[in-house]
């Protein structure tokens, strides 16, 4: 049998939740292990080999420190197909909220000995530094999409992961619109699908953890929310969450932030 493609899973600044999604693929893990050689996956095994070439590399987390930046460049150099997984790797994650403030103040406030802390002024998604072949969105990522990503990469096609609104998922699922029927603010129309409309299915508006979809008309949505009584401060908070550092959401939150 030919050598299986080599899979590497790496993390930068992140909570490990997206890596866990790979382990959550319980029914499919054996098939995945048969199809790829899992060479490096710290969340799963201490038997690791971060060196050599990877055919498929999954990178979780954002770049927060100079060391992570070096590490990311080394990972890229070793990888054939590099996929950013999760809100941190694709948009900076919740830690990128520090970009809206002075990180030195945060360091002083949080750490007893700030001198030991070496950190970058801004937290950034990995595409800000290296070429990324595909971005898998979500906080955390969806295991169905992860499986599709792996399957597609193995045969050399683009994953069937549509860049479309959460509304599409709601409507396919027959989920009643929480905005129209309940007056709830919802970021679904401007947010990338993939979660299976998880929050609306529990009667809660989408809070955008998959980040903006293409052509996200955040301005029209925010204007409408404001007309419905959502305050400017609340709009800032809504757009400034897990994917608040993405271009579209950042611009929108800044529009309402005086």
């Amino acid at each position: 049998m030919a050598a299986r493609p080599r899979l590497g899973v790496f993390k930068l600044a992140s909570c490990d939740g997206c890596q866990l999604t790979l382990l959550d693929l319980e029914d499919e893990l054996l098939a995945i292990a048969a199809a790829v050689d899992i060479v490096h996956f710290p969340e799963a095994s201490s038997d690791m080999d971060p060196h050599g070439r990877f055919d498929l590399t999954l990178v979780e987390g954002s770049v927060s420190t100079p060391a992570q930046l070096d590490e990311l460049r080394a990972i890229r150099a070793q990888s054939r197909t590099l996929v950013a997984i999760g809100a941190c790797a694709t948009a900076g994650g919740v830690q990128a909220l520090r970009n809206f403030a002075d990180h030195r103040e945060y360091v002083r406030a949080v750490y007893a000995t700030p001198a030991y802390i070496e950190t970058l002024a801004q937290v950034t998604p990995i595409a800000a530094h290296v070429r990324v072949d595909f971005e898998l969105r979500g906080c955390p990522i969806d295991k169905g999409q992860l499986l599709e990503l792996i399957s597609a990469t193995l045969v050399g096609r683009r994953p069937d992961i549509a860049d479309e609104s959460v509304c599409m998922a709601c409507k396919r699922a027959g989920q009643v619109c929480v905005t129209v029927a309940h007056g709830q603010p919802c970021l679904g129309p401007v947010t990338h699908a993939g979660c299976g409309a998880l929050c609306p299915r529990f009667s809660r508006g989408c809070f955008g953890c998959y980040g903006p979809r293409e052509r996200a008309n955040t301005e029209a949505l925010a204007d409408h929310m404001q007309a419905e009584g959502v305050s400017a401060a609340s709009l800032v908070r809504r757009f400034r969450l897990f994917t608040g550092w993405s271009e579209a959401f950042r611009a929108e939150s800044e529009r309402h932030d005086d």
């Binding site: 193995l154 609104s165 009643v176 905005t179 029209a220």
Partner: protein, 680 residues
């Protein structure tokens, strides 16, 4: 025949329907709305509830009575049941995993599972009208979707008159309500009048149900009839008196004459492009077709799921996105729904239900948008008007157009770098006309449209460039491999019409492939085609497709090398080749094909066939216009995002045309108003 039913009689009626083996589908309260879905019986109906609707707003309210159908419409109708949001079309048995590339197919099985027939309860007049529209889409021919056809044919329909139209209804504008007409497609029609129902029987099935009720179904009375007539009339009068109307008169022409109206930009500022309107619309039908091939599964599934012209993927093909802007997407939706639909299906796509208004998260009102354009149409400019052809009817073809056959690759010929010609042997007799295309596919990567570049005996030739995942996988196939094949699809070059005329064929790059079959035919029959000229442009001498063959057609070219000596005798073919650039040593023409057109005097009376990149086609047409060639002497081949190839997935629409079914070969005048326009 008609009858009157009490609430008890109605309850018993639904029990009977269930006992007869139908799955009951009806309105029921869920998630704070009246949704249309599976119900167990009359108790699940929203008895005593109604809905209040406004643009972008929907609320439930208690009525204070026991009305069973005292609401108007929920977010989605029976479209969900008749064309499920996600549906498996076929299952494909897979060969073993290979070191490189996707697995090849070993067998194809139909996936349609006959569940219980549906009893669709409580359908309003607008929903029956929407079903008639969907019938035209899925079964109106030439291709029939057997899944839809079967569900529709087996469904029992219990319709309900609307006596209390909702705030957003405008069915009197579209002539689709509020009363259910006697001739409409229903088994039973209910009119809810106070504490009882007047029941009109519309079929034998319906009659049997009423008969089965025995004493519970009493004879109807003249009083009830009068009450119904009055109720429907009052509802219609009320609707007529409203401000919200949709004037359908001349609407397709109005919209297509206003493609550059400033209103589209205003709309784009408000529209979220979320797609909600299209997925609550009871007539929208766009879908995607994708492969689901799990890692270790022995079969893959070809699945279709609801899509929308508001998504990016809808109008994207490898390397091109035809509707990147929100204004173009909304314009596509509205010009299709209210305009192109009439050309395609002989009816407007709007039934006046108001769902797209209620369920738009920002409350965009399609009737207001139309009224705004109607109130201030833009002045006609010099742009060519878009031709809207009348709808035509075509006899239906048998079989499932989505069910592929397994064809075998007989040989692979490398034509150019990353371009091969697959000779494919289909199963059974296969006849096509040059210009048509097939859908070729592999289970892991899906299908792509590939023109038929010739036929040799029983083998079909397909010339493919490796550009996307699917074409790359096809190009990598080897002799003996199998692939899925559907076809032939689309229109052909008008060979019969060209007889006796001088013909000029203008091709660019791989655009020669769809023309080769027609050229071969003309080369072989000098008596029918006395003079044929081929003007062919490629990037470089190394990129000249079928070089040996095309040079062999022209006996004046001395270095014509290898094939077909019989053809060499004919002498009625002239071949002119140009390249964009070449290394020293090339003695032929250099420059784009339009430059070549200027060097070789062309007749205003000849017939022209054109194929190549769209930008090349447009420049060629401009050149032809200059020399005075009439539009009805020119045919060209177009490309868009084709997924189903049979006019059902909606993706390849080009103004009023489906490229897959009305094209890919069009006469110039049919699409002159669309060429070069952004967003189509």
């Amino acid at each position: 025949m008609s009858a009157r039913l009490t609430h008890d009689g109605f309850r018993r009626l639904l029990e009977q329907v269930r006992e007869a083996g139908y799955a009951l589908v009806g309105p029921t309260i869920s998630d704070g709305a009246i949704v249309y879905g599976p119900i167990a019986g009359a108790d699940d109906l929203p008895i005593g509830w109604t809905d209040e609707q406004a643009p972008g707003r929907y609320r439930l309210r208690e009525r204070g009575d026991r009305a069973h159908f005292g609401y108007v419409l929920g977010p989605q109708g029976p479209r969900r049941q008749l064309t499920p949001p996600v549906e498996t079309l076929v299952r494909i048995r897979l060969g073993p995993r290979r070191e490189q590339g996707p697995r090849t197919p070993e067998g194809v099985e139909a996936a349609d599972e006959d569940g219980e027939p549906l009893a669709l309860i409580g359908l309003r007049a607008c929903e029956l009208a929407a079903m008639a529209v969907q019938d035209a889409v899925w079964t109106g021919g030439p291709f029939v979707d057997p899944r839809y056809a079967r569900r529709r044919e087996r469904a029992l329909i219990i319709a309900v008159d609307c006596l209390e139209p909702g705030e957003l209804c405008f069915c009197v504008s579209t002539n689709t309500g509020p009363g259910v007409e006697a001739g409409a497609s229903f088994d039973l029609r209910l009119t809810e009048l106070g504490e009882e129902f007047l029941v009109e029987v519309g079929s034998e099935r319906g009659q049997a149900l009423i008969d089965g009720l025995g004493e519970l179904a009493e004879p109807s009375t003249a009083q009830l009839f009068a009450a119904r007539t009055q109720g429907v009339l009052a509802a219609a009068m009320e609707l007529h008196g409203r401000e919200r109307q949709l004037d359908l008169d001349g609407l397709p022409e109005l919209l297509f004459a206003n493609l550059d109206h400033p209103r589209w930009d205003e709309l784009a500022a408000r529209c979220l492009s979320c797609g909600s309107c299209t997925l609550v619309c009871p007539t929208c039908f766009c879908h995607r077709v994708e492969e689901r091939a799990p890692l270790d599964a022995p079969t893959s599934e070809r699945v279709r799921h609801w899509d929308s012209c508001f998504t990016d993927e809808h109008s994207r093909i490898h390397g091109a996105q035809f509707r990147p802007q929100i204004r173009e997407r909304y314009r596509q939706w509205m010009t299709h729904k209210l305009g192109a639909w009439v050309s395609q299906f002989g009816t407007s796509g709007c039934v006046g239900c108001g769902r797209c208004i209620a369920w738009c998260p920002v409350g965009i009102d399609i009737t207001e948008e139309v009224a705004a354009i109607r109130a201030a149409p833009v002045a006609p400019d010099d742009a060519e008007p878009v031709a809207l052809p009348p709808a035509t009817t075509v006899p239906a073809l048998a079989g499932d157009p989505m069910h592929p056959q397994l064809a075998r690759v007989v040989s692979v010929r490398e034509e150019l770098r990353e371009v091969v010609t697959l000779a494919v042997e289909p199963v059974g007799v296969f006849s096509h006309a040059p210009g048509q295309f097939n859908m070729l596919g592999l289970p892991d990567v899906g299908e792509v449209p590939i023109s038929i570049s010739g036929q040799a005996g029983g083998e079909l030739l397909h010339t493919i460039r490796a550009v996307g995942a699917a074409s790359r996988a096809l190009v990598a196939l080897e002799a003996g491999d199998r692939l899925t094949l559907r076809g032939p699809f689309g229109s052909a070059w008008p060979l019969a019409e060209l007889r006796g005329h001088n013909v000029v064929v203008i091709a660019g790059g791989l655009g020669l492939a769809p023309l080769r079959g027609a050229l071969r035919e003309m080369v072989a029959h000098p008596e029918r085609y006395p003079s044929v000229r081929l003007l062919y442009g490629a990037r470089s001498p190394e990129e000249l497709l079928f070089a040996d063959e095309i040079l062999s057609w022209d006996r004046s070219i001395r270095f014509a090398p290898t094939t077909a000596p019989a053809v060499l005798e004919s002498g009625h073919v002239k071949v002119h080749v140009t390249v964009d650039g070449a290394a020293p040593g090339w003695t032929g023409h250099v420059g784009v094909v339009t430059k070549l057109m200027r060097r070789k005097p062309l007749s205003a009376h000849a017939r022209y066939l054109v194929c190549g990149p769209e930008i090349m086609i447009r420049f060629v047409l401009r050149e032809l216009e200059t020399i005075g060639v009439a539009q009805d002497q020119v045919w060209l081949s177009m490309e868009r995002n084709m997924k189903c190839a049979v006019g059902m997935c909606g993706r390849c629409q080009y103004g009023p045309h489906f490229i897959c079914k009305d094209g890919p070969v069009f006469r110039w005048d049919a699409i002159a108003g669309l060429l070069g326009r952004e967003g189509f």
